[in-house]
Symmetry: C2
Subunit: 102 residues, 2 copies
């Protein structure tokens, strides 16, 4: 299967990024990727079906927060840290820090 589409760094839209992060499930995905690096979709252990999780990954991908690499039967996801930092300096760090509190 082909690699899905990812927006360019300089086309990242702040509203889309903030919207994607405003969902607790998606935030949790981002937190896990921030802490553990590249992860396949199936390894998150979140309380939803595959279909729902696939939807959340799509939202994150289309907002430019994650990159999905296809290898064999897996999709490996990673946070687009550099792109996010270049486009929105300090934002990801502040969000991750904030999400670590109660």
């Amino acid at each position: 299967m082909r690699t899905p589409h990812h927006p360019e760094r300089n086309q990242l839209d702040l509203s889309a990024v903030l919207y994607a992060l405003s969902d607790p499930t998606r935030m949790e995905v981002v937190r896990r990727l921030a802490g553990e690096g590249e992860l396949a979709c199936g390894t998150f252990g979140l309380p939803t079906t595959k279909a729902t999780l696939s939807h959340h990954f799509k939202v994150l991908r289309e907002a430019g927060l994650i990159h999905t690499r296809v290898e064999g039967v897996h999709r490996y996801n990673s946070l687009r840290k550099q792109d996010l930092e270049a486009r929105f300096p300090g934002l990801l760090k502040a969000v991750l820090k904030a999400s670590g509190q109660s």
Copy 2:
């Protein structure tokens, strides 16, 4: 009229804050308040009706982003900069900076 309810500093919810900021109209309100200080609802000149704007102010207020002070026939709104900085350090600054780009 009585002052509307505002959430406490330590009860601010990150998801609610990010969601509130993910709407371009609301982000514009926040930007104006960040730049110009306290403003009455009617002074924003945004392309919506009073009712819609009132709705957006309510979302911002309930997320804890703004404070609304009632004085006579006006509602003066201000950004809760200190509260936001205390609860989510660096977040508002990064968002405002990011929203200033294209």
